[in-house]
Amino acid sequence: MSGDHTHGAHDVRADHDDSLTYYQAMEIAVRELLIEKGVLTAGDVRRQIETMDARGPQVGAIMVARAWVDAAFKQRMLEDGSAAARELGLQIGPLKLIVVENTPDVHNVVVCTLCSCYPRALLGLPPDWYKSRSYRSRTVREPRAVLAEFGTVIPDGTRICVHDSTADMRYLVLPRRPEHTEHLDESGLAKLVTRDSMIGVSVIET
């Protein structure tokens, strides 16, 4: 049975030279059906992919760098992460953000044990390891061992706070500003900020 294919439904071809998997075929089928039913358009899909591609840790880094240079902004950010992001003009959509600050006394690390909740609007798509069974199972129970696997050793005098994103909030770690960076301006500081430091598995070293 041939359907009436809406113009543009075939614009995005299968992306492998090897044969289509069942699930890849399912994706095409679902998308085509939705386009034919007028639920969305091929253009909507392309634009959403472009939006997602433009998101990456450089967005979260903007918030971190601003917090490092502006103490009042940092306070506002720690009280209401979403409002602070919007203040900077960042397009975060419905994200409910909590920013947690690393200090000499506390090191924060974020995990979602139940699935893989992640502040995508600020960091882009999560890395595979964040979604892995190992990370999701072990980070809540042995955070120091997991951090050590990332090469991060937190002294016993600094307590670790693990955040399990079980519900509606999403978390960003505000890493400590590295030493010897007084000479850097805000954009120079932003370049130092890594994705892993905003998840909490790494610290930023100079």
Binding site: V140, P143, R144, A145, I160, C161, D164, T166
Partner: protein, 102 residues
């Protein structure tokens, strides 16, 4: 039984996560059930995910709290310092005052 919709707890209150193991979509992790902690903040009130998961609207909204737990109280063999903590978001209907009967 704690009312599910009226904000009941405040930051600093000691609470215990209820023990229950229903099937269905639950956002209270197994490892926290039965554990005691302290309310760190109220996050606000949100539609109930246990209902949203079935295409229902989850209203009226329910209070959601961040609760802080001591790691040494979550895991009998916890290897880190006694000050290490874990914080998770728990809906009010999964919480009771710490000294309430189980």
């Amino acid at each position: 039984m704690t009312d599910a919709h009226t904000v009941t707890f405040r930051a600093g209150d000691r609470v215990r996560v209820r023990v229950a193991h229903p099937i269905g979509h639950v956002r209270t992790p197994y490892y926290l059930r039965g554990k005691g902690g302290v309310v760190e903040r109220i996050c606000g009130s949100f539609p109930n995910p246990e209902e949203l998961a079935y295409g229902r609207n989850g209203l009226p909204a329910r209070p959601l709290y961040r609760v802080r737990f001591l790691q040494r109280e979550l895991w009998p063999d916890y290897a880190g310092p006694p000050t290490d903590v874990l914080e998770a978001e728990i809906y009010q209907h999964w919480l009771q005052p710490e000294d309430a009967p189980p």
